[in-house]
């Protein structure tokens, strides 16, 4: 019997803690495919940002050099693909390989038309940064009131 409000408080505190732990349960390894199935279109993970001038796409591609990545763009259809090669040295005993070495491909359709000639890509610290300026026609324009 709860005669003290501090007991109820503690109960809710514990429930919150449990709920947070359960929320984080699947994120512990930051990926949902614990069997290493690269579900088509979910690898690599990307973020898409937008402002008036254009888009920025970032993709998590650790262990990949420029030569291993390919970015194709057509109209507003973007495809990022690549192959991760294994960096396992010869003659070593293997204890654990969680990283894997597969090829991947992911395609996105961007919200509005992108000027394909002005797209820039930079690879830094294992993250691919793509700047995609919007085509002139779709940029927000300021309308002056006469």
């Amino acid at each position: 019997m709860f005669t003290r409000l501090s007991d109820i408080d503690r109960l809710f505190g514990t429930m919150n803690l449990l709920r947070n732990r359960l929320d984080n349960l699947y994120s512990d390894f930051d990926r949902s495919d614990s069997f290493r199935w690269a579900i088509q279109g979910s690898v690599p993970r990307t973020n898409l940002y937008e402002d008036g001038e254009g888009f920025e796409i970032r993709a998590e591609v650790p262990g990949l050099a420029k030569e291993d990545l390919k970015v194709n763009i057509q109209g507003n259809y973007l495809e990022i693909s690549g192959t991760r090669s294994s960096d396992a040295p010869k003659g070593y005993r293997i204890h654990k390989t969680e990283r894997g070495a597969d090829s991947f491909s992911r395609s996105l359709t961007l919200p509005t038309d992108v000027d394909a000639t002005k797209v820039e890509a930079t690879l830094k610290n294992g993250i691919l940064y793509l700047t995609l300026p919007k085509a002139e026609a779709v940029k927000p324009k300021k309308i002056t009131i006469g």
Partner: protein, 128 residues
């Protein structure tokens, strides 16, 4: 009856924590030969200054913080600011003085050389 009848939470429970970073375990590959143990950990987006590698008492702890600046509105975000943390137990035969770490393309490459005394040695049998 109870001695605590205050509806308001006791002050010590109101400690505000500034946003804590999501903690995640980086995925790793571990290889071994006679001379050393290699550990490769994926930590994309982390810069050298934000990584700490500690070996203490047989435990190797890796920690890397990724904080990325963003501009514009995020339409979607599948990865964000995160702290990569993972601990391993290392055999005592590792020569801590000679451990080397390299960060390349978002992958942390650790060399853990084994101390000389631990390497397998063939013992010669002398006939008396």
């Amino acid at each position: 009856m109870s001695e605590k009848t205050d509806i308001v939470k006791a002050p010590e429970k109101n400690i505000e924590k500034t946003g804590t970073l999501y903690e995640v375990a980086p995925i790793v590959d571990i290889f071994e030969n006679e001379d050393e143990i290699l550990l490769h950990a994926d930590m994309p987006g982390v810069v050298k200054q934000d990584i700490s590698v500690n070996i203490d008492n047989g435990t190797l702890s890796l920690s890397g913080v990724r904080k990325l600046k963003t501009q514009g509105k995020a339409t979607w975000e599948e990865f964000g600011n995160v702290e990569y943390v993972r601990n391993f137990s290392v055999p005592p035969t590792i020569d801590v003085e000679r451990v080397e770490a390299e960060l390349k393309d978002g992958v942390l490459l650790l060399h853990l050389p084994k101390s000389e005394a631990a390497k397998p040695r063939q013992i010669e049998i002398k006939t008396a």
